[in-house]
């Protein structure tokens, strides 16, 4: 089959930038999100790695199996990310970046573009009552479910 399809990004939760599945994933590759452990600010991170913020832009980011269209200042709810509240992280899976003059389309990822973000809150989602019932079989079960969530505030979208 000559289908030109690379790795299925959606199914793998760990970030792997390999196009063909035959090539083994490189272990040293960064996962999403990169924890900025040294706790440097956004500007310091930019100057250290020679990044520049893209102004008036939006980006499509991929966080733990879900995609979001974000701009600067957005607050989004994702699945739980095990990072402390208030910490600064960098999202490196960017699928598309749009500015006023141009659009960068990633196949599947846009290279050298990252997004700053901050952990705002680590709450649980709304409680869901799960009720299972089978008629005429004397079967009733009631349980509940609350997913673990994380609120993320989006900072600058940066480019090398």
């Amino acid at each position: 089959m000559n289908r030109i399809i690379g790795s299925n990004l959606m199914k793998s939760t760990s970030s792997i930038l390999v196009r063909n599945q035959s090539i083994a994933p490189i272990k040293s590759f960064s996962t999403t999100p990169i924890i900025n452990s040294s706790q440097v600010s956004e500007e310091d991170y930019n100057t250290k790695n020679s990044f520049k913020p893209i102004e008036e832009s939006f980006a499509v980011v991929h966080i733990s199996g879900k995609q979001f269209k974000v701009i600067k200042g957005d607050i989004i709810m994702t699945d739980r990310i095990n990072v402390d509240v208030g910490e600064h992280i960098v999202l490196d899976k960017v699928l598309l970046v749009g500015t006023k003059s141009q659009t960068m389309i990633g196949t599947p990822l846009v290279e050298n573009v990252k997004v700053h973000a901050y952990i705002e809150e680590q709450p649980k989602t709304e409680h869901v009552t799960i009720f299972k019932h089978k008629p005429r079989k004397n079967y009733k079960r009631t349980t509940g479910f609350q997913a673990l969530a994380t609120y993320i505030r989006i900072g600058d979208i940066i480019q090398k």
């Binding site: 030109i4 399809i5 499509v60 995609q67 269209k69 699928l95 598309l96 749009g98 009552t129």
Partner: protein, 119 residues
């Protein structure tokens, strides 16, 4: 379930089913069953909904949904339908660039397949 919880959920129901124990229990349990099913249906319905919007968006630029998504998968663009429909509504220029990208890829593909042209 506790009867207090049942009455809490039965608020606003029609007739005696908001006041009587046995009736309220019946109605609430049936409602929760529907709730369980529709949590699964929600995923299907939304996917259908997104596809309708993408189709309308791409037809403006002269591509059907079928061809558009074929061009995207062939070039390994992995943006999902939720985002594509959002782009079609709120970011028409970015969506157009995606359609143009897809058109460009399609010109290199063999008829209705994902395989490249054989020359």
């Amino acid at each position: 379930m506790n009867i207090d919880k049942i009455f809490k959920l039965a608020k606003g129901f029609y007739g005696r089913s908001k006041n009587c124990k046995s009736l309220a229990r019946e109605r609430v349990e049936k409602g929760l069953e529907y709730n369980y099913v529709s949590r699964k249906l929600k995923k299907r319905d939304f996917r259908q909904f997104w596809i309708q919007r993408i189709n309308a968006g791409s037809r403006i630029h002269g591509l059907t949904y079928n061809d558009f998504s074929r061009g995207l998968t062939a070039s390994d663009v992995q943006i999902n339908r939720k985002i594509l429909s959002e782009l079609a509504v709120s970011e028409p220029y970015s969506f157009k660039s995606l359609v143009d990208h897809s058109k460009n890829i399609l010109s290199h593909l063999h008829k209705n397949t994902y395989s490249p042209k054989e020359i």
